[in-house]
């Protein structure tokens, strides 16, 4: 079956609308990174991963996804809801009291689709490795995916995990870093430069791929390539170039929209740039 890039792009447009409306409704949350990763998550959940929205924590026989940079929860929640894990109407409860859609993802409120709490950065790669090893012990040949922010890899635990996975040939793992070059206090170059990421991860022993994260055709192409490279003795790392705030002109090219919500006027402006393709929640 040929991939319908146009349809995936349309889904991503709806997900971007969801992100903006969720963040606007509670006047908090992280729209910038969420918008930048919309295409990637739509590709994963609507095309790449074999997964079952009738959620089961153990996920045996399913591909698993772990969001390590938990602050981009709006895009995660929208994609989970749009792919059938829970009713899209529940997106309206994001960050509100008694909601299953906590500010950062958690298993604690039993939201289908979430297998691990994240928010405190740097922990997801270790968890993904553990889940990948569990699959190997279970003779389960499905894959484990994870997503990390580029600022997040300043955390030391990431490099502990980066060392572990190649040494132990965890080759059923595809980790992606969202390289948007931005973090809270400024650009990653200003705050703590990441250096040559390809060279660093290759030196640790990973198979490294690069992807244009806001070009749906390239996202699909590289994710298929990554799957083809699985089970060949090395863990796979995708460096995904994205634009923070992608899809909304005034949110791009800046770290300003990392963690602030649009006002009414800004929301109207932003929604005017994004087609409502699946119906707003």
């Amino acid at each position: 079956m040929a991939t319908d890039i146009q349809q995936l792009t349309q889904t991503a447009s709806q997900v971007r609308r969801d992100i903006l409306r969720m963040v606007h409704a509670c006047q908090s949350g992280h729209p910038g990174g969420s918008l930048g990763c919309a295409d990637f998550l739509v590709a994963l959940y609507f095309e790449i991963m074999h997964h079952d929205p009738k959620f089961n924590m153990d996920g045996k026989g399913e591909d698993l996804f772990f969001l390590s940079n938990g602050h981009i929860s709006p895009v995660f929640y929208s994609v989970l809801a749009r792919s059938g894990y829970f009713d899209v109407k529940e997106l309206a409860t994001f960050r509100k009291l008694n909601s299953r859609l906590q500010g950062h993802p958690t298993t604690h409120e039993h939201l289908p689709g979430v297998r691990m709490a994240s928010g405190s950065l740097g922990q997801g790669l270790s968890v993904a490795i553990g889940a990948a090893l569990s699959k190997k012990l279970n003779n389960d040949t499905s894959l484990v995916f994870s997503l990390h922010g580029d600022g997040e890899i300043q955390e030391g635990q990431i490099w502990e995990a980066a060392m572990y996975a190649p040494h132990n040939k965890v080759d059923n793992l595809i980790a992606t870093i969202d390289v948007n070059g931005q973090q809270i206090d400024g650009s990653t170059e200003q705050v703590l430069s990441l250096g040559n990421l390809r060279a660093k991860w290759e030196a640790f022993g990973w198979e490294v791929l690069e992807m244009s994260g806001n070009d749906m055709a390239d996202v699909i192409r590289v994710l298929h390539l990554a799957k083809a490279k699985a089970f060949k003795g090395k863990p796979i790392l995708i460096l995904m170039q994205t634009e923070m705030g992608n899809g909304v002109d005034f949110m791009m090219h800046s770290h300003k929209w990392h963690g602030i919500a649009p006002n009414d006027e800004q929301l109207t402006n932003a929604l005017g740039q994004l087609a409502e393709t699946l119906g707003d929640y």
Binding site: R115, S118, G119, Q123, S126, V127, I129, L133, S134, M163
Partner: protein, 321 residues
């Protein structure tokens, strides 16, 4: 008064190693992870028997805790092993988010807890771990007292659903509990009944309390000795039943006075049954290098210290009338 004797001394960490091997034989979902301390944790028997279920993570404790959390997805029951200091303080946030808040069935097994680590000194002698772990919602905290109890506890936690912190130690100590005991999480063990004072002891201090009880008996004091191996969930009923009878309390633990078993008991008493309490615990300080016995004496954690605390608390009870 029941008389306790022993024929041999063994380290509680070896009880863990034996229990882990048995748990691994009983359930193929049991897996183990270690951060470059396999021999010290006595995990070598498990590693040898089940090499495919043993994960050597290197000196990378944060990664170990995260991996353990991930391994639960798919049904594994991971036991992590390193020293108590590196099992808790070093990885508190990983345990908090990836294990406790994520409701993961991880067993955090910690050796070389407390002063009895000995000569390595304060960098390795954690005295705050019980406090840190008991504050985490949903975490079970267990500190067994001898080889047999540690082995039984290790087997029991494999069958318990939910995160557990299991704390044990390095030195050889008397083996005096039943080798065939069934370990019940959260159920205090009545070591000796008495009417004058309740001594609630955990870990290595249980044997010290038994020794103290014999000295007290010679002085005409009938001490009730209760082993609180599970600090959380605490056996509140056992504590209240005992203190209703005795009217005063000594808590004994190889831990900081702040945040340990004594504090948990004090909270129960303050809410339900106010009574005088004395703490046998480290008085808010770090440890130092020395032999285990030297350190336990210097920091007031031996049977003489328990006897003195009993005399003091009984005097306080009598002064209240």
């Amino acid at each position: 008064m029941k008389k306790y004797t022993y024929t041999e001394k063994k380290d509680t960490r070896s009880g863990f190693g034996a229990g882990l091997l048995e748990a691994g034989k009983k359930n193929k979902e049991v897996v183990a992870l270690c951060a470059d301390l396999t021999g010290s944790l006595k995990m070598d028997a498990f590693q040898k028997e089940f090499p495919e279920r043993f994960f050597q993570v290197g000196i990378a404790e944060a990664n170990m805790i995260g991996m353990a959390a991930g391994l639960t997805i798919g049904g594994k029951i991971p036991f992590t092993g390193t020293f108590a200091n590196f099992s808790t303080g070093r990885v508190y946030d990983q345990i908090r988010q990836s294990v406790a808040y994520s409701d993961k069935n991880v067993k955090i097994c910690a050796s070389h807890a407390g002063l009895t680590l000995g000569e390595d000194g304060a960098t390795h002698q954690i005295l705050e771990d019980i406090g840190m772990m008991k504050m985490l919602p949903g975490m079970t905290v267990i500190n067994p007292c001898d080889y047999n109890q540690t082995k039984a506890a290790t087997i029991a936690i494999a069958e318990h659903e939910g995160p557990v912190y299991l704390r044990f130690g390095r030195p050889t100590v008397p083996v005096f509990t039943d080798p065939d005991q069934k370990f019940e999480i959260g159920k205090a063990w009545m070591v000796n009944e008495g009417t004058d004072v309740s001594i609630f002891a955990t870990g290595h201090l249980v044997w010290k309390a038994i020794e103290a009880g014999e000295k007290l008996a010679e002085m005409g004091i009938k001490a009730e000795i209760i082993n609180i191996h599970t600090i959380k969930p605490l056996d509140v009923q056992a504590i209240l039943t005992s203190v209703t009878r005795t009217g005063c309390v000594v808590s004994a633990e190889e831990h900081n006075r702040l945040g340990g078993l004594g504090d948990s008991i004090a909270q129960v008493l303050a809410q339900h049954l106010p009574a005088p309490q004395e703490y046998v615990a480290v008085d808010d300080s770090f440890g130092e290098s020395g032999t285990p016995d030297q350190l336990m004496e210097k920091y007031g954690l031996n049977s003489e210290a328990i006897v003195k605390a009993v005399q003091k608390v009984i005097a306080r009870k009598q002064a209240r009338g």
